[in-house]
Amino acid sequence: MLAINSVNTYRIPQKFEYYKPRDLREALELLNSIEDAKIVAGGTDLVVDLKYRRVVPKALIDVSELSELRFIRTDGNYIEIGSAVTMQELVESEIVKKSLPLLAEVVESIGSWQIRNLATIGGNICNASPAADSVPPLLTYDAELELASLNGPRTVSIEKFFTGPKKTVLERGEILRSIKIPLSQQKFGWSYVKIGRTSFDLAKVSVAVLLRAEDGIVSEVRIALGSVAPTPVRARTTEKSITGMSLERAAVRASELIVSEIAPIDDVRSTAWYRSRVAKILVRDAIWKAYERFLQVGDKNEDQV
């Protein structure tokens, strides 16, 4: 966190209105009728931004208690997660543990217990930080985002959702309703590796991998990275190139190719040079780790993504 002591963080140094709508429709009507209204869910990003005056909204609309955004369900084809489900609820969800082990592992490492009890998955996505930890796993899952507005719902693939740091395709009047993850009949090995100052800190570079192999040959692989570009990145070119290769070759080749798919920057947490170097190593390690997991999972977890 940048210059913690340069402002007094005890109070929020600005005024705004606060609304707690009773249902999603009311939330959407409010969002439509008030110029410069901001959605607040857990507030773990937004309240910090308010304290530092990085956002100056006229009103906050609290969606954290809306039952229409607070569910985890599955119909056998999809797992759908409401946007206001908290990280700790994901950690404790049997459905997530059983069918989305990569996501389960990642959310467990987010923030602290106190933060996970507040932080929502929708907030993590909509805040659109290139370092958001839940996003690389969701990219590898080919997650779809269900957006709600008074004009009706629309679905956007998570790969198309981010347009830059703190920027998304969300239009004025839209709320992220849920995240839909298609279930695969195939079982994958998975891994998430991240380099940060501490696990509690935001990542400098992170890599998520889902992988299947047959006789030591990569049969399907999905790779996504955080903190290496203005948005989280799905490394499609690398994935295509290494499919069909032996694990040894695939890991080396991925490490070479990955630099062409990322655009890291210098910032307070790290430098572009360091991030490129680390991304190469992490991709290699993540592929091996996913392969090891693949060998371990055996024939269990049929309906795991």
């Binding site: 966190m1 109070r11 209105e17 609304y19 910090v48 217990w113 507040l118």
Partner: protein, 162 residues
């Protein structure tokens, strides 16, 4: 439209504070930490970093530990809040404090209410494994003790609670 939703700039919230129904007028920009300390005079809740990183402001919100510096007071309408001064009076709370004192897990004491609250939440949730308690305490920072004595205290607490 506006009348229907009530334009909220000042509002009365009603919540259970340590089991007692409490009503207080808050403004939307006030955090739970602000209201607890300044309006309700609950000084056991400490302000450290103000941005969710240190855990000294930890309270239980509907039984779950949260950083009160990031919770908008207006949200808390209808919730149950438990603060460290109340926890200190409970049976488990006393065991925690005694163990922390005996093991030297307190020096300046500023972080202690937060540790007390998170450890209490972990124990009452049935977390029995030292590694799991350690993970639960990631969000509590202590500038003085270096954590070794805190962990010694946790071991003692685990052996003295069931």
């Amino acid at each position: 439209m506006r009348d229907f939703f009530k334009w909220v700039t000042k509002m009365k919230i009603k919540f259970k504070l340590n089991g007692v129904v409490t009503e207080v007028e808050v403004e939307p920009h006030e955090t739970l930490l602000n209201v607890l300390r300044d309006k309700l005079k609950v000084k056991s809740v400490k302000y450290g970093c103000g941005v969710g990183e240190c855990g000294s402001c930890t309270v239980l919100l509907n039984g779950k530990p949260v950083t009160s510096c990031l919770v908008l007071a207006a949200k808390v309408d209808g919730y149950e809040v438990v603060t460290p001064d109340y926890i200190a009076q409970t049976h488990v709370g006393k065991i925690i404090i005694d163990a922390m004192l005996e093991e030297g897990a307190i020096q300046c004491g500023y972080c202690t209410p937060g540790f007390l609250t998170t450890i209490y939440a972990a124990i009452t949730k049935g977390i029995r494994n030292i590694e799991d308690v350690k993970r639960a305490l990631i969000g509590n920072i202590c500038r003085c003790t270096g954590y070794i004595n805190v962990l010694k205290a946790v071991k003692k607490i685990l052996s003295e609670t069931k």
